[in-house]
């Protein structure tokens, strides 16, 4: 069947909506939201890191820019979530483009180093910017009745699509996650993905064959950064509080790197598998034991997969099938 993947996407979204409609235990939305967010971040990271082979350590930076764009928009215009997501995507995409423009003409390590320093610098700027709360952070209430083109989405008495804000944001995150997986898959199956793969294998050879390497890298960085920014934009509304330490947390960088590497970087399903698996385990681990131990396990898993199993879980299964 030709549109198997697209139908799958729609089924996933329907399932996500039914999940909110059934009004199950509130905790499941709170635990499910980060997992969906991780799916989106890991997928976004993999567009540049997995297909193109350029490592981005600045996930937290892009995510934080998305979050703080959203905060600034709420503070300044009282903008709704849809506007926040779109504008955060544009801003973070532009950030990716400009970092890429400075560093992507050099060896891959320079891009990695620049992105590593990026998150810290952005955190510095936000710490000094009182309009969005500065170092102390900022808390706010999400609008009770968000609307788009005159349609009200939330009504606690029923009669609208969603019963409360958490369900509404959960569904938005699901839409964004599916959207990013769809983008990643389209890139992978198309000319862009083949171009990026050739860069990963041998950049010089690719350039000699006429692959526009710089343009492809810049494109991948922009898309990847933009998706990360969008994933960040929903974050403040979901937490109803944001501070620089949360928004620019290094854990995001480690997760976005570890999830695709553990799942498998060469195909779109890898990051999804890694994110769902690691995300679920982490949600469970945070509740049952300390969050430090949880992070330690994450780091050890990352090193294990990078050194011993570089093709990840998906690669392991594919080898078995052959």
């Amino acid at each position: 069947m030709r549109y198997k993947f697209e139908i799958g996407c729609i089924l996933v979204l329907l399932a996500a909506y039914l999940f909110t409609y059934l009004e199950v235990n509130r905790f499941l939305y709170v635990a499910g939201f980060p997992i969906l967010q991780f799916v989106m971040i890991a997928t976004a990271w993999n567009i540049l890191g997995g297909y193109g082979g350029y490592i981005n350590f600045g996930t937290a930076g892009f995510l934080g820019v998305g979050s703080y764009t959203a905060v600034a928009l709420i503070q300044w215009l009282g903008a709704g979530i849809v506007e926040q997501v779109i504008i955060a995507g544009v801003v973070a995409g532009f950030l990716g483009l400009s970092i890429g423009y400075f560093t992507l003409r050099l060896k891959g390590v320079y891009f990695a180093i620049a992105t590593l320093a990026l998150a810290i610098v952005l955190e510095t700027f936000v710490n000094n910017w009182d309009f969005v709360g500065g170092a102390a952070g900022i808390s706010f209430l999400p609008p009770r009745k968000p609307e788009l083109l005159g349609y009200v989405f939330i009504d606690s008495k029923g009669g609208a699509l969603f019963g409360n804000t958490k369900e509404y944001l959960f569904f938005i995150m699901a839409v964004l996650a599916v959207f990013s997986v769809w983008i990643a898959r389209s890139i992978e199956k198309g000319k862009l993905g083949r171009g990026l793969n050739s860069i990963k294998d041998n950049e010089e050879a690719a350039e000699c064959m006429g692959v526009p390497t710089l343009r492809l890298k810049l494109f991948a960085t922009t898309i990847s950064g933009s998706l990360m920014g969008m994933a960040g934009a929903v974050f403040p509304s979901f937490l109803t509080f944001i501070d620089p330490l949360t928004a620019f947390n290094l854990e995001f960088a480690v997760n976005s790197l570890a999830m695709p590497m553990i799942g498998g970087t060469f195909t779109w399903i890898g990051p999804v598998v890694g994110a769902v698996l690691l995300g679920t385990v982490q949600q469970w681990a945070i509740v049952t034991f300390s969050s430090e131990l949880n992070l330690l396990i994450l780091g050890v898993l990352l090193i294990f997969f990078v050194t011993v199993a570089p093709h990840g879980i998906v690669g392991w299964f594919m080898k078995k099938n052959k």
Binding site: I55, A117, V121, K200, V254, E292, L296, V306
Partner: protein
């Protein structure tokens, strides 16, 4: 206290001081320059090991600053339980970090260089190392700031020359002297000895080196271990200068890479010059704009160098 530049403690600009106008400005400027020079010595100690690992050997050890923080905590233990002087403690733990470097390079070689895997996977390896080190430090020591005790910490020399007041804290001076001695020693070692020349030759042409009957892997492992052994003293200096907590290493990542890239890959003396330039720049920005802006300086320098002169000031390597 999270900013690296709280080190400098710039005098606050009260209205009363502002009346003295130019004199105060000159005083601030000269004090900032002196403090920056001393800070540069400290920065050199932080980045000299990375200059060897990254510049000469092409192993992008992004865990370097975090390992320095680990060394700072080792110094803290030796100082608080046995009352050992922090500098002496730094020298005592140096062999441990030498051994650690030996182990890390062996693993790196086994998994990445030998199989000629993508260089970027090695980056992920070091990132994992950074993360694990930091988490273990948090689990053992918590997130509190730690300090060491020694006679030269907390006091400063002041002098009045030509009507201008100067003041230099002893701890910065100590750090400067120790850091300069270490950097100069390493510089001479890599310039003058057979091993040093071999290590620089590895950087240029590995094949030629093995044709000369030298085992390049041995040279690289040795050089990496020497690079990492500098963490011992650098960590001791760090905890002398600022209170240390596990995540503080991240703040220095931008600084050390800006220095190594600005100095030029493969050039140890270049690293020294770049460290002084960055030290002075950070000091001036913290004095006149506030210490919270200091991290932006190194990042600006890093991006600027990468964009306009990626070989750095004294670099010889290719950057593409």
């Amino acid at each position: 206290m999270r900013e690296s530049a709280t080190v400098l403690e710039p005098s606050p600009l009260t209205p009363e001081l502002e009346k003295r106008g130019v004199v105060v400005f000159l005083e601030l400027l000269i004090n900032a320059l002196v403090a920056g020079l001393l800070l540069g010595g400290f920065f050199a100690a932080l980045s000299i090991g990375l200059s060897i690992c990254f510049g000469l050997l092409d192993t992008v050890n992004i865990a370097h600053p975090t390992l320095i923080v680990a060394a700072a905590f080792c110094t803290f233990i030796l100082n608080s339980t046995f009352g050992i002087d922090p500098i002496l403690a730094g020298i005592i733990i140096t062999p441990i970090f030498f051994g650690l470097g030996w182990l890390i390079y062996s693993a790196y070689y086994q998994f990445f260089e030998k199989t000629s895997a993508e260089a970027l996977r090695g980056l992920a390896f070091f990132f994992g190392l950074l993360f694990i080190t930091e988490v273990v430090l948090i689990m053992v020591f918590g997130v509190d700031h730690r300090l060491v005790e020694a006679r030269y910490i907390g006091e400063s020399i002041s002098a009045v020359i030509g009507g201008l007041e100067f003041s230099v804290p002893y701890r910065l001076l100590t750090a400067f002297v120790v850091a300069s001695a270490m950097t100069l020693g390493l510089h001479l070692y890599f310039e003058r000895t057979f091993f040093g020349r071999a290590a620089r030759a590895v950087h240029q042409d590995m094949m030629a080196l093995s044709l000369m009957g030298v085992d390049p892997v041995y040279i690289k492992r040795m050089a990496f271990a020497i690079g990492l052994s500098t963490c011992g003293l650098a960590g001791a200096l760090m905890i002398i200068i600022i209170p240390v907590e596990p995540a503080v290493g991240r703040l220095f990542i931008g600084n050390v890479f800006a220095i190594v890239v600005l100095g030029g890959l493969g050039s140890i003396s270049g690293t020294l010059v770049a460290a002084f330039i960055l030290g002075i720049a950070v000091s001036i920005v913290s004095t006149f704009f506030g210490p919270s802006w200091a991290p932006a300086v190194s990042f600006g320098i890093l991006l600027g160098v990468l964009a306009f002169k990626p070989t750095g000031l004294f670099g010889v390597g290719d950057t593409r």
